[in-house]
Symmetry: C2
Subunit: 318 residues, 2 copies
């Protein structure tokens, strides 16, 4: 058994290996998961979580790396969680496990973690918040959560973030892509990357139109800014950081941050509870109780709903 408290203390002191081991523990649904989560809880809440989503090829990794550089210059400790819902590979070295992040590999103020979610118990919604909590407790001021891939998983990841950045690039038909993926509803800040390419202005205009940014808004409403960047050269990145800070300030001013975090915690607790109950029921596979209930259903002496009631009653009694 791992000495969880010692590990948490080491992570708190900035030990990258301790952080890596803690993430592995929560990621792998270790028997000590609950112990880890209990130890982390009082240490969390300090990190600001920024989600980055967008279609493949828009330059998410480059943008993330540029944001890390900017935040490091400002003296912030930064955690990076790169989530790839389609990859079977997970974990690995905490530092330098991704080539494009290699410039930050030797920086003790940066934690980088790749996370695959295929095969994870409960999927993305389950694994990512636990890893974010580790990075938070380890003293990261900013946690950047970058999702590779598109679709539902992006929306799920965005739901984990305090502020969601949606990236696009010119000439990729991103407008339609974005609309399809529903990511137009999740962006707090929009970035048109590769803005030195033809069509950047058109993409920004199209986006502006789709977001209805020209329309009147209620006073006090958040108006998602559209920032143009060339992340590979670091251009526009300071403006992105500024937009993120503005959004954070707006959320704090309007009580939105607390509301978002509470809603997120509620979803997470709900998800863990459902997973736990599902797993308890799954444990009954091959169990005498479920078998005999099933037998009675096939014989017609019990209907499946009454059987489910009996199953639940037995579950909560145990």
């Amino acid at each position: 058994m791992v000495d969880v408290l010692a590990l948490v203390e080491q992570a708190r002191q900035g030990g990258p290996r301790a952080v890596a081991r803690l993430i592995s523990l929560v990621e792998g649904a270790s028997p000590q998961l609950r112990e880890v989560m209990a130890a982390l809880a009082p240490l969390t809440g300090g990190a600001y979580v920024v989600g980055l989503t967008g279609s493949p090829g828009v330059g998410k990794s480059t943008s993330t790396s540029a944001l890390v550089t900017a935040y490091r210059k400002a003296g912030k400790r930064v955690g990076v969680l790169a989530v790839d819902p389609s990859s079977p590979f997970s974990g690995g070295a905490l530092l330098g496990d991704r080539v494009r992040m290699s410039e930050h590999a030797s920086d003790p103020g940066v934690y980088i973690r790749s996370m695959a979610t295929r095969g994870h118990l409960g999927g993305l919604a389950w694994a990512a918040p636990q890893a974010i909590r580790v990075l938070d407790a380890a003293g990261c001021d900013i946690v950047l959560v970058e999702t590779v891939g598109v679709g539902q998983s992006e929306v799920e990841i965005a739901a984990q973030a305090d502020t969601s950045v949606v990236l696009l690039a010119p000439g990729m038909g991103d407008g339609i892509q974005a609309a399809k993926a529903g990511i137009l509803e999740i962006g707090d800040v929009y970035v048109v990357n590769k803005a030195d390419r033809d069509g950047a202005d058109a993409t920004a205009r199209e986006l502006n139109h789709m977001l209805g940014l020209g329309e009147a808004r209620e006073a006090g409403d958040w108006r998602p800014p559209i920032v143009k960047t060339v992340a590979a050269r670091g251009e526009g990145i300071d403006e992105v950081v500024e937009a993120l800070e503005k959004h954070r300030a707006w959320m704090e001013e309007h009580g939105v941050l607390a509301t978002r975090r509470r809603a997120r915690a509620a979803t997470e607790v709900e998800h863990i509870a459902v997973t736990a109950l599902r797993s308890r029921i799954g444990d009954l596979r091959g169990d005498q109780r479920l078998d005999s209930l099933a037998e009675r259903v096939t014989q017609g002496t019990l209907d499946p709903y009454a059987a489910a009631d009996e199953l639940i009653a037995g579950l909560t009694a145990s």
Copy 2:
């Protein structure tokens, strides 16, 4: 409130409108669902459930219709459940709601029901077995469950059947399609329809090869037959019926039918229990308990796992 017992009695007497209303009740998760299921339970178990799956265009509806004709000639009462996981339309007229089935529309020994599953609480796995149970209780000797579409839903529907028929047609690249969709693992009987077309023999050979039918098997193992049909002309349909009867006899002889039905009932009970628990938790949305747990999680005074435990405890106490 509907007089459920009277309705079940009318259905038992062969009243098509009573059958239709019962299916609507179970499909729509009516408050009387449990009452209906309890009333149906003692009347079920008599129907033999045959699943028909295959890619669009292989002639599933035509084959189903031809099978109905064959079973009717043999004096059997037949229920047809056409499940379309992608369609938002459901229910409708019990008789004659599908053009290609129109020849059976005026036959009082045939019940035809279309079922869409989009938006159904619990999806396909939840809705279909209840409708099958209604048709079973109404005295159908055979229930044909035809799935439109491909993929996971087919596999789910196959899991509801006593015997699964996988349909293919020549020249559709069905071999690869079938392998991809995983339906090669679910077929008890294979049908190459449109066998008057070029390539029918090649499709049958390819299938034979993919299924490893040339390899040695344990004595007593079921060896899925491959039947060639031209369903539009009724050719080969008697052979399909014969293959189905053989599979049924083999399952009964080897105790497989009882095992399958018990496993199916166990899955169903499990599914209903999980759905019920999930719904109970979902009911807590906006509830004081979940909100205050979430608040404590965001404040770091409680970890999400401990919060989930409290939620579950509160759930089972209520």
